[in-house]
Amino acid sequence: MRVGAIAFRIFLTVLCVFLFAPIVIVVVASFTASDFITFPPGHVSLRWFQKVLSDPEFIEPIWNSLRLAATATVLASLLAVPAALAIVRGSFPGRRAIETFLLSPLSLPTIILAVGLLFFSAKIGLTQSAIGLVAGHVVVTVPYVLRSVVAVYARANRETEEAAAVLGAPAYRVLWHVTLPIIRPGLIAGAMFAFLISFDEVAVALLMTTSDTTTLPVSILSYLVYNYDPSVAAISTIQIALVVVILLLLEKLVGLKSVMFTAR
């Protein structure tokens, strides 16, 4: 085998080890019997999992976070895709300015956005409403989907779309059967970013959630003020396990490898 190929594989392996390293530490530490996060864990026990799984303070927020992330991702995608298509293909003045504006939530630190959103939604009467929370997350995640879709669409061949139109396909059919498959890799990457960003988001959630909508990051943050046991490690392990289960399910049901990016 060529040296280049071997070196490349070594590089990938080292990088994978780097990517997994802290995760392994946290997962292993969550099995400790002691009252503090230690590594190596010493005696092994499942007590922290027992504690966390029976505690609504952790379990409800997981579902809230999942729901919120899914909602924000779907909404952000519905908003961003048409806009991305318009930016790439459209011919109208101020395109650059509009694109910059749509990307600018990326450049404002989320805590500043969160504080502004809190006071702004109070002014327009949205206090303690889930709308403000979801809107905040949509604002934060739209740029990810937008930019990812633009990236893929900008380089795509126009000819296929033009050919379809020339051959008589109405606009919506061109969109569904030609354009969407073209942008699919960008949309999937953008949606993944959006979901993960929303799930981990703290600043907006800290100010806009109520006791029914508390998200996991808020719960963990509040827990760590007066508690310092391995519960947070256990809940992180559960979070990872959940994602693995979801991915495996998607694989079995939909054939994830073919949905991921392009079908080859």
Binding site: S34, F36, E57, L118, A122
Partner: protein, 341 residues
């Protein structure tokens, strides 16, 4: 006759909703802010039953932190999303000064009469201390044979390198960082310049100035540091959970408190006073103290001896004269950032 009856009935029907409206001022729930984990558990175990029994009103607990609770109240002063809030010292002061809280009086909260002045005067009675921790020294008994007897010794020995580069203490930008700096300044006749100079001299031997207590415990537990300024409740808990190699004590002459204060938010329903009354009662505070293993403010509280041994008595803690020093805090934070680089 019929017409009189009819009119009277009509009037009665008109009056009924008004009467019901007057009664409906009692809400079906109040919203209480609490920190997560054992703190919220204690609220649910000790405070909520007392309140629900007395008033029949439910309690909705929201978690989070002092800064975000303050922001939420500021954003909605007319219709606050939180009725009883548990802010830290500085935030309580700000909220009181900015007219976001209601003043606590003995008429509204009978148990308030028990609480010593040091636990509510600094906040002009807008807030009252519920529980407090004391900052002390936590150290590795195997490595450090003669721990510093006073704060002055701690800081100067660290600067001199007596403990090696294995020391930690709170950052000036931590929630209670300014209070820590104030306490150090008291060791030098009140000179904050001296305090900054001493900490600067010590910083060469400080592995990290901690910004969260969990980080601090991590530093100590992984043996990155041998001696550390830290809160009593967590330190004692660490020792008890199988770490006899660790010692903890309060250095001379006294120390600062890190407290949780409780306040009624302005425009919250009046029934919330009953919650605060519960929170100040000896029985509820005894339960709270035993649950979270921190000292509480009502001196009438009686706890088991083994619990009492772990708590720092109120006589050993002091609060800064907030009226004077509070305006300086943001300057000290800026100064910390610039000088401790």
């Amino acid at each position: 006759m019929k017409r009189i009856v009819a009119s009277a009935t009509a009037l009665a029907m008109l009056a009924a909703p008004v009467g019901a409206w007057g009664q409906a001022k009692k809400p079906d729930k109040i919203v209480v802010a609490a920190y997560g984990g054992i703190w919220a558990d204690s609220v649910k175990k000790n405070f909520v039953p007392c309140f629900e029994k007395k008033t029949g009103v439910k309690v909705d607990v929201v978690t989070g932190e002092s800064a975000d609770w303050l922001a939420r109240i500021r954003a909605n002063p007319a219709n606050p999303p939180i009725d009883v809030v548990s802010l830290a010292e500085a935030d309580s002061l700000r909220a009181g000064q900015d007219g976001l809280l209601d003043k606590i009086t003995v008429e509204k909260v009978p148990n308030f009469a028990d609480i010593p002045a040091q636990f509510h005067k600094p906040w002009n009675d807008f807030s009252v201390v519920l529980n407090f921790g004391a900052l002390g020294i936590m150290y590795n008994k195997d490595v450090i044979k003669d721990p510093p007897a006073s704060w002055k010794e701690f800081i100067e020995n660290t600067a001199a390198g007596k403990y090696g580069k294995r020391v930690s203490m709170p950052a000036g930008t931590y929630t209670w960082g300014p209070e820590f700096l104030w306490m150090l300044s008291q060791q030098y006749g009140g000179s904050i310049d001296q305090a900054f100079a001493k900490v600067k001299a010590a910083s060469a031997n400080v592995v990290k100035f901690w910004s969260t207590p969990v980080e601090a415990l991590n530093l100590y537990g992984t043996k990155e540091v041998d001696i550390m300024a830290y809160w009593d409740g967590r330190a004692v808990n660490f020792i008890d959970k199988g770490n006899p190699w660790t010692g903890f004590y309060i250095p001379k002459p006294n120390t600062i408190a890190g407290s949780v204060l409780v306040s009624k938010v302005k425009n919250a329903p009046d029934v919330a006073w009953e919650y605060i009354n519960c929170a100040m009662s000896p029985e509820v505070q005894a339960g709270h103290s035993s649950s979270i293993l921190y000292s509480v403010s009502n001196p009438k509280v009686v706890v088991a001896d083994d619990v009492k041994a772990k708590l720092t008595p109120a006589s050993e803690v002091v609060f800064p004269p907030y009226a004077e020093v509070f305006p300086e805090f943001s300057k000290w934070i800026e100064r910390w950032n610039k000088e401790m680089r």
